[in-house]
Symmetry: C2
Subunit: 561 residues, 2 copies
């Protein structure tokens, strides 16, 4: 046995970036470090000097400098903590939220870092949850339908306002000077790999899931882009590239500058960029069909592998080799989950519960979970639609909003808390059924992310609502572990890593022993409640009553006066 080798994964989340240093032989996590972005999510005013620049509703930006700071703070920290010799770190992988994109100069300089553009919101990073490009998404969808573009069906028939070309089109429409100044339009995932390696590469995962690219057909044709806007006709040639790298490839080696930032050796292998959700799949032991991976946090991403091409209405999309080589990677999502519970905790819980939580020395989420756990399924009389942040799958509609029904004068906060958990579980069941009904079976759910660690009541409710067994990854930082695994694959077996992600998954990924199995009695009650959920879901989300959209229009009308 040779000397132990190590690999580092860096996971760029919504609020912070996290590095984990693991043993390449067995995935054991030796050190972890988190950097909370200094500007976090920018959704009110730009962090600029002088007169403040206010953002419109639904905007969500970030500062790319926060990503560089993540490297500078977290990698030296994990090296220090573990005491590992940087020479024994064979690879580095990263994963990112997506679609999170930015405009840059030809050398990668973000436009927002230039004095000329710093006060223009469109020069900044548009975070995945920037939801202001809905008119552009509508145009993308209408034009694609009109022109009979075949790729539309791959995305469940609808492109989200969160995706790459919706955001691009919004820049073009609202800030043509930024569009013109942008030599490159690039996913933040690829941008940070560029900063590490000095080489601009593009990964198949974000290209496939967020930018309408496929291995067989490439990007949409130029005539389509021309129809969207003549200035967009050659966007791929002018500001992107047609060279797309497969997940698992090596992007390059660390530059001397990046080596200085991180304390690693120049030339250390860096993997092609990946997406937080997708990179979690092999880290959750899943490299085969039938086992859905649910990354559960502020939102949920559902990842599922299939042996063949299938059209599933309302899913986010599928990409051949997009997650695991040789398989079709299907993705679906719920745009608000932990976010909704946090909304309740922050906005609708009276002081007595805050005081009780404090007295018990638990956080308010935990206290409400404990109180909610005392209720039986159906006992609250409440039913909610989990659309506080719109609906990603299967309705693909950011203009849908949250609903609570069944309130009485006796309704209490723990009942609301439980109803919101249940609503998100029903949302998951809608997605599972969509896959099952369209030839991509789901036999179990492997979960990771913050929620499975924190909320056992939630896990049991999801098992009871879906009727499926829920498993949990052993790692508390699955995406970072997945990135580290891809770092080991980028390094290759000869360097002490692996030649494929299948081998890496077998050696480095593990599940917890504890699982959550459906309870028959609870399942029966939830079947009744789910039927009610589905009726409301279809009524408000399927065109029966578009009141949610009309209220948004009225709100916009009133605000514009």
């Amino acid at each position: 046995m040779g000397k132990r080798k190590y690999t580092i994964g860096v996971d760029f989340g919504t609020e912070s970036g996290r590095a984990v240093l693991v043993d390449a032989a067995n995935g054991k996590e030796l050190a972890t470090a988190v950097y909370k972005y200094s500007h976090g999510v920018i959704d009110e005013t730009l962090p600029v000097d002088g007169k403040s620049v206010r953002l419109e509703p639904d905007w969500a930006l970030q500062d790319p400098e926060d990503y560089i700071r993540t490297f500078k703070r977290t990698i030296p920290a994990v090296l220090r903590q573990s005491g590992i010799d940087p020479a024994d770190v064979i690879g580095l992988g990263i994963d990112f939220t997506a679609c999170t994109m930015l405009p840059t100069l030809a050398d990668g300089t973000p436009l927002c870092s230039l004095p000329d553009y710093r006060r223009n919101p469109h020069a900044w990073v548009k975070l995945w949850k920037h939801h202001a490009a809905q008119p552009e998404a509508d145009k993308i969808n209408a034009t694609a339908r009109q022109m009979g573009e075949a790729w539309l069906a791959r995305y469940g028939g609808k492109i989200s306002s969160e995706w790459f070309f919706a955001k691009t089109l919004q820049i073009l429409a609202e800030a043509p000077e930024i569009y013109a100044a942008a030599d490159r339009l690039i996913e933040a995932a690829d941008w940070v790999v560029w900063q590490l390696t000095g080489v601009e590469t593009r990964n198949a995962c974000t290209a496939g899931y967020k930018a309408m690219w496929s291995k067989r057909e490439g990007f949409p044709r130029e005539a389509y882009f021309d129809a969207l806007d003549p200035r967009l006709e050659y966007v791929v040639e002018q500001k992107m590239t047609r060279i797309i790298h497969s997940i698992g490839e090596r992007a390059g080696g660390l530059t001397p500058q990046a080596a200085k930032w991180t304390g690693l050796k120049p030339g250390t292998a860096v993997a092609i960029a990946n997406v937080d959700a997708h990179v979690s799949v092999p880290a959750a032991t899943v490299t085969e069909p039938g086992r859905m991976v649910a990354i559960m946090g502020t939102s949920i991403c559902h990842m599922l592998l299939g042996g063949q091409e299938q059209l599933v209405p309302g899913i986010c999309g599928y990409v051949e080799d997009g997650i695991i080589p040789g398989l079709f990677g299907f993705e679906a999502g719920q745009s608000g989950v932990g976010d909704i519970f946090a909304w309740l905790v922050d906005n609708a819980v009276p002081p007595e519960y805050h005081a009780a939580a404090k007295k018990r020395k638990v956080d308010l989420h935990q206290h409400l979970e404990d109180e909610a756990a005392k209720l039986k399924p159906g006992e609250s009389g409440l039913l909610a639609l989990d659309w506080w942040n719109g609906n990603r799958s299967v309705l693909v509609d950011v203009d849908l909003t949250g609903l609570v029904l069944g309130a009485t004068l006796a309704t209490k906060a723990p009942e609301m808390y439980r109803a919101l958990i249940e609503a998100t579980a029903f949302g998951t069941r809608v997605i599972v059924e969509a896959f099952n009904n369209h030839g991509v079976p789901v036999n179990e759910i492997v979960t990771c992310g913050g929620l499975p660690e924190k909320n056992k009541l939630l896990m049991q409710i999801y098992a009871d609502v879906t009727g499926l067994e829920l498993k949990v990854t052993a790692s508390a930082q699955t995406p970072a572990l997945g990135s580290a695994m891809f770092g080991a694959v980028a390094a290759g077996q000869a360097a002490g890593g692996y030649d494929s992600i299948f081998e890496a998954a077998q050696r480095m990924a593990r599940l917890k022993k504890e699982t959550f199995k459906p309870n028959r009695a609870a399942q029966k009650v939830y079947d009744r409640l789910y039927a009610e959920y589905l009726t409301l879901h279809n009524y408000f989300g399927g065109g029966g009553n578009d009141v949610m959209k009309r209220l948004k229009h009225i709100k916009a009308d009133v605000r514009s006066r």
Copy 2:
């Protein structure tokens, strides 16, 4: 001009009783006193010694001893405060919540005061908002429809679970021993007048509005009662009476015992009992058609006079001479209004707003109102159905529940507060339109009760939503003033009072100068929101989707296990 004469009104509310002493010549209020019922609303456990007796959900009881204590505490207090000679108090009137009823012995002794029955919940006063008699109300309605009972149409086609025979039938069904032991079944309004005068009388108002009696047809026929339950066939003869007194009559004179309780002179004229809402109409200056009186507090009662008989679907009922002699008195209601705002304030407002209110030295309602007033109509994007306590008019369905729609991750408590106010305003508009569409026109709304005093935002929203001018009674205690007016009528002109309520109203009732007129721009937005409200109202309340009822069934199923 003779010596000044005075009259006292006592208003029995849900949580407390209130006496006001007024100048009979001009209605000027000289003193007021409130007694908070020592047992308040009994809805969890009976106030008895020994092992606790828990109540089922939806129960709401009271202790009749609290009513006697109200007389003992408040009347001496107003005499003391005003320094008036009790010999100059010419009359006493009372008004009560309704239907609030109790079983007694032949001498008026409440069954709940007897050791044998004290631990039986059915022996206590069933408060108006006791909502556990819905199965009995369903039976009353189904049987009446089946037998083609003509009186059903007078009540909008549906009897409420709150009413007299629903409560009676529940006693019979669940506690036949209490039914058997009850020599009398009587409205609490009539019971307190009995305690004052020593004479059992029954008033036309509660008989007409709550017990299916009418001046022309009397009570329902015995065959109908027999069909409900053979033991009920002779309920009117056995436990009630067919002698019903008109509003404005004299019930009797104060007994020596009641004189001792109150400090008034024995023989002081006591008016026939009245209902809080109905007694407010002349006190709000309304003795003619076209002017709706809205008594706005925890709930709203809508009172309207009409020159002729009209069938208005979904109203609570109409009674000839039920409010003002010579006119048809129409009644409608919203079962949750101030209650819903209080629910929000108690159950869904986070600590920061509590702290801000404290800092500003205003109560939390006021703080939320001030914050909500900064929003434009439609700006919150929220829409609610105001059914936290069911829906009285026009759906007459206690099994309906509250709904909020339009929530996003940015939704804040003041937006919720405003949405709930708006929802109750839409509920009022539904009622106004029902009257307008069925031949009982509404040209303005005269308001009284706690809300108009406290919440100017609410008043403006009601004007904007209904498109009607809202006026406010000058008295802060309109029902008590109305009762005092009827006390003056019971005394008669010869004693220094009046011979009719018309004269009393002209002399004793007044409105404030400040009124609330609709704002055109706000009206336009609210017309759009009202259209959405109405669609949801009809979908969830009109049989389009009975999910609210099914959730209640599921809740009951789960709880019963």
